[in-house]
């Protein structure tokens, strides 16, 4: 996995790059430097790939397992879901906060990944619904804990100039795992009709490899310390002997690194602007489930392929995540984030137009996948670039929580429209609202208004 990338942006001079550079005006070395994604990011992508294979394989067959093997209805299974979604969102901020406070994002993430891996062991012994439900809850908590620290690690490892591309590469691998997991699980069931234990064993194996890759291969990056070292270049700055009138008793001054954690980033103008924009657009992002249901309501093509609709969305997301991340680095991440929602409106329209058939269904899936490629990783990249290193994980967690919570609200609200006006009318209404909201939000983030706050620039290496 490290063959085609270098270990860090700093050592990018070596001529081993194979596929990432693309010719333009700049010199070969310069373009290699800009185009390359650090091996840490790729390793984190592999960790997510393995973990997503593990979790999605189980999640995809769990309803079937509960009904077919345990002889219960899925109604019982659905009960825990709402609760879990809320808990997962809150844990996300906590995970980010812990990563920032300790300046050890790798180990906070390892706790999250490890917790999820432990639930796979539990699944092998779980009998009955309460046990399974609590394992699902634990798994989601693990996911909540690890997400923000992992994104902070990506931000710390990546070159600030190609943050979007780095997040794109990570999300592509992540989505590949999420697509492969269910297919693998159903392939196992195909070969072994009662192969639930086999699925759980394979899932445990993938989870263990994921945790192993994180613990053994990902360096223990200290983002806050690194930022402090970048801004304190001289011995004097670092509090080593020859200091200028300060107290010199803290000779090992490297221990304390950079600005301490503070929630004050939430008062930063640009951060608030980002959260508002993400919140407003999130309010108009109804769950994929509704789009799939609308497509399925309309024609037999989508009904027959209903279990595969998510694969269409994921495949598009996977293919486009890295190129769109690169595009976002060039034309502006906020712009890509906002205009991605125009494609979401397009997906709604495709699901609402009265032309049933393969063409509109596939178009809706492609638009939806492109929307994810333009928003998910880009939001993390945008947030990381916007806030000081000391609060980066918390800020990423906060932005993702805001998005997740308003999307939950959106889905609930959309449900009201769905029953009040019908599925097609509801989709038209939300599409129309997006058509209004996207230009307004684009205006709010115009001209680099979501660039880094001026007083933070000092942290970037000269």
């Amino acid at each position: 996995m490290s063959g085609l990338v270098s270990a860090a942006p700093a050592e990018a001079g070596s001529p081993t790059s194979t596929s990432h550079g693309r010719p333009r005006k700049r010199s070969r070395d310069a373009r290699r430097r800009a185009g390359r994604v650090p091996s840490t990011v790729v390793t984190l992508g592999v960790v997510s790939f393995l973990t997503d294979v593990s979790s999605e394989a189980v999640m995809a067959v769990l309803p079937l397992y509960v009904t077919a093997a345990l002889g219960m209805s899925v109604i019982a299974y659905g009960v825990v879901d709402g609760l879990v979604q809320g808990a997962g969102a809150l844990v996300r901020v906590a995970g980010g906060w812990a990563a920032d406070r300790t300046d050890r994002p790798k180990w906070v993430a390892a706790v999250g990944y490890g917790l999820s891996a432990l639930t796979r062991v539990g699944l092998l012994f779980a009998a009955g619904l309460p046990a399974i439900a609590s394992l699902v809850v634990t798994d989601r908590i693990g996911k909540g804990i690890r997400t923000a620290p992992r994104d902070a690690l990506i931000a710390a490892a990546a070159n600030p100039r190609n943050l979007g591309r780095s997040f794109g590469v990570h999300r592509a691998l992540d989505t590949a795992g999420a697509t492969l997991g269910p297919l693998l699980a159903f392939a196992i069931l195909w070969a072994i009709p009662d192969g639930w234990t086999t699925i759980f064993v394979v899932s445990l194996g993938a989870a263990v490899l994921g945790v192993g890759a994180l613990v053994l291969l990902v360096p223990d990056l200290r983002p806050r310390q690194a930022a402090w070292l970048r801004t304190h270049r001289t011995r004097e700055d670092r509090g080593l002997p020859k200091c200028k009138g300060c107290t010199c008793d803290a000779a090992g001054g490297l221990e304390l690194a950079g600005r301490p954690f503070s929630w004050s980033f939430l008062r930063g103008g640009a951060t608030v602007r980002l959260l508002v924009v993400a919140g407003v657009l999130g309010l108009l992002t109804v769950g994929d489930g509704f789009i799939y249901l609308a497509l399925q309501d309309r024609d037999g093509f989508a009904t027959h392929w209903f279990p595969l609709l998510y694969v269409g969305t994921n495949a598009t997301y996977m293919l486009l995540a890295a190129p769109i991340g690169r595009l976002a680095d060039r034309v502006g991440r906020a712009r890509v984030l906002v205009w991605g929602h125009a494609l979401l409106a397009g997906a709604y329209v495709c699901a609402a137009v009265p032309f049933p058939g393969a063409a509109t269904t596939i178009a809706a899936l492609v638009l939806l996948g492109t929307f994810y490629a333009m928003t998910d990783g880009v939001l993390a990249a945008l947030t990381s670039a916007l806030v000081p290193t000391a609060v980066r994980a918390t800020a990423i967690g906060t932005a993702q929580t805001v998005t997740a919570v308003v999307r939950m609200v959106a889905s609930a609200g959309f449900g009201v429209l769905w029953y009040a006006f019908g599925s097609v009318e509801a989709l038209w209404i939300v599409a129309a609202a997006l058509v209004v909201a996207v230009p307004v939000c684009a205006y709010l983030v115009r001209g680099g208004r979501l660039e880094r706050d001026a007083d933070l620039v000092e942290e970037i290496a000269a």
Binding site: D52, L70, I75, T303, F306
Partner: protein, 342 residues
């Protein structure tokens, strides 16, 4: 190489990969071999012929072996006796003798679900796709087919579920569309909770039916009387799930959640509702939780499926007297989804 920490870590990871791959491959291969052996093993049930010509109960056989999942029938007067096995495999069946509705899972890397209408020779006369795991089906004497499927989320972030319940005719043409779109009238007022789900249809005639409507946000579960002509669902009573109309049309058998408030899981107990007086008799002679749409064997006996605790995938059909005087007993061993063909 290995004397550097990074080198050691890489070597450790390589060993881990080797161990995990070997372990899972070994386990999967052993399981595959076991499954092959089990699938090809003879099913140990007593098999006979000519059952289908007389009054019988049709069901999905769940005895392990080569006949697992195959639809079979036992004589109405000898439920635990020998069975006649048909060539079709179904998850749920409902039969009127000459016509049978079969919900099935088509397994593969892409697993799909469908409903088939079968004739007396088990040939498919109509088929349509279902959006998720088959749950319930009812075929009425008037040729109406009700199907309930669970539409489950596939993504980690979007698990959750909804049901899709539809009424079609025997050609597969839509009669109702999704019943969630019917006008819901609760306690005399038109309501539209966003998360309503409809399931468990039982037909009265070619226009009226009973079903369950649940709204999680309102925390209500209703018995509703549906009207296919007016496209309405009118609530009748609370806390009635999966109704099943008795042969004489006077009572509904259903399951009621008797778990304490705030309990993590439901505990369903069979019950009977007298439609004239709206009086409910809870049949607590059955202590276990029953998650099935019950079937009336006759006007005094209910049939329902229960999984075996120690044998995953195997179920039994139990019988219970509606007057609550006797303990439940196994009626058809190794069976699921019974359908009485008188």
């Amino acid at each position: 190489m290995t004397d550097r920490p990074a080198g050691r870590s890489r070597a450790a990871f390589a060993v881990l990969v080797l161990v995990v791959l070997t372990g899972t491959t070994w386990y999967a291969a052993a399981e595959l071999q076991r499954a092959r052996a089990e699938q090809n093993a003879p099913t140990r049930v007593e098999v006979t012929e000519d059952v289908l010509d007389g009054p019988h109960v049709l069901f999905r056989g769940t005895a392990p072996g080569e006949l697992y999942g195959r639809v079979a029938a036992v004589a109405l007067d000898d439920l635990s006796g020998p069975r006649e096995v048909t060539p079709v495999v179904c998850d749920r069946v409902s039969s009127q003798g000459a016509t049978t509705v079969c919900l099935r899972t088509r397994r593969g890397v892409v697993t799909t679900y469908e409903a088939d209408v079968l004739d007396a020779e088990w040939r498919t006369t109509a088929t349509w796709s279902l959006p998720g795991i088959p749950s319930r089906t009812q075929l009425s004497p008037d040729g109406l087919v009700a199907t309930t499927a669970f539409v489950t989320g596939h993504s980690y972030s979007q698990a959750g579920f909804s049901t899709e319940t539809m009424v079609r005719d025997l050609d597969g043409a839509k009669v109702s569309g999704n019943l969630e779109d019917f006008t819901l009238v609760a306690d005399g007022e038109r309501v539209a909770p966003v998360d309503r789900n409809v399931w468990g249809v039982t037909f009265v005639d070619d226009r009226y039916f009973y079903a369950t409507v649940r709204s999680r946000s309102l925390d209500r579960t209703w018995l509703v009387r549906g009207d296919l002509t007016e496209r309405t669902l009118v609530t009748v009573l609370d806390d009635v799930e999966c109704p099943s109309l008795s042969p004489d049309g006077s009572r509904l058998a259903f399951k009621r959640d008797v778990a304490a408030d705030g309990a993590a899981t439901q505990h369903w107990t069979p019950a009977v509702l007298d439609l004239a007086t709206l009086e409910v008799t809870v049949l607590d002679a059955e202590q276990r939780t029953v998650d099935d749409q019950m079937t009336w064997l006759d006007d005094t006996t209910l049939l329902y499926g229960l999984p075996r605790a120690d044998e995953p995938g195997t179920t039994d059909v139990w019988s219970l007297a509606v007057d609550g005087t006797s303990k439940p007993a196994v009626a058809i061993p190794q069976a699921w989804s019974p359908s009485v063909v008188g």
